[in-house]
Symmetry: C2
Subunit: 204 residues, 2 copies
């Protein structure tokens, strides 16, 4: 909904086709996520739990809310606390949800599910700060999407400046690193590649 012409180096649907097609494909993919879970080879109670988590975090109390806040305050500078709420909803809850869903699928207990969800919230926030940093420090080709687009937006850069945003990212990354060290060995092994790929992305 930020009208960008590229995502991950590929043209976005509304530029390649039109707005209506892009909206419909969004509806279709959103619905297809639930279809895929319902048709998967998992136990019924696991499927229901996954659908509960996905719908709660992707809908009105999650991603949709975050996107709505983002649009509503596009031209009004928010406080740091306010954009944390924005990006927790818009980006982080869906990342947190997918970590929790992984935990549900492999039958981890409720405490570990919650730990992974919280870890995912911070990881999602870090991902967003990194995106904002990349927007001002990288070329379009490096980022895989148009950069320097966030001038009017509630980006971390506009609120904190580049230096403080880098510090904010470092602090979050270190917090995640220490939480990661507290996970048991099998969980650490499972998450290792994720951590390596994303934790210090803002330093690439």
């Amino acid at each position: 909904m930020d009208n960008a012409s590229l995502r991950r180096g590929k043209p976005t649907l509304h530029t390649l086709y039109d707005d209506a097609t892009a909206i419909l494909i969004g509806d279709a993919l959103n619905t297809y996520a639930f279809e895929l879970i319902s048709r998967s080879a998992l136990r019924d109670d696991v499927k229901v739990e996954l659908i509960k988590i996905l719908s709660q975090n992707g809908g009105i109390a999650g991603m949709v809310l975050g996107q709505a806040i983002d649009l509503e305050f596009e031209n009004k500078l928010l406080s740091l606390e306010e954009i944390e709420i924005l990006h927790k909803n818009k980006t982080a809850k869906l990342i947190a949800a997918s970590m929790q869903m992984g935990a549900v699928i492999v039958d981890l207990d409720k405490t570990k599910q919650k730990d992974l969800y919280e870890f995912g919230l911070d990881l999602g926030l870090l991902f967003q700060v990194q995106d904002d940093i990349i927007d001002v420090t990288h070329t379009e080709q490096e980022a895989g999407k148009p950069t320097n687009l966030d001038g009017d937006k509630n980006s971390f850069i506009n609120i904190l400046g580049l230096e403080e945003s880098l510090q904010y990212a470092n602090t979050l990354a270190k917090k995640l690193e220490s939480e990661f060290q507290n996970f048991d060995k099998p969980l650490q092994k499972a998450l290792e590649s994720l951590i390596q790929k994303y934790l210090y992305r803002h330093k690439d």
Copy 2:
């Protein structure tokens, strides 16, 4: 997506707020349907079956497909067979799905589930023909939405004319009436008010 300013006598979201809000509310409600089912008091296997039916009929192989066909051929007159495909997907599959979902909830056997789904497809098609008839024969106040909007669209009226559309609706209504008579008594009783309300709506 037809840009109408009223629905059931109330202003549509994109006129009251803006396009982005309307799109987000659509996403939210679509997702909320799955959340509601996942949180309901039904058995897990029933929930999974309901989600399977809803996602299949509301998504890329159902309502989304119908809406996409409708937009793609807005300015090209389709054949009767083609608009039947359009409206089966855009309108009828979701009505059929809700009848099948009712059958799943009360544990009717697969044959009865299928009968109700097929009944719903015809009922959905009838609903659409009736809508097209009402568009040319009723005022905005009577219809609860702006009328005479279908001039350029693939309405049954534009393809068959009013007289043949009325005949088409009558034929479908009679077919549904006779199928209804073949349902067992408890099912007839459960569906009676639906039948009375919708079967001859085009004659109101």
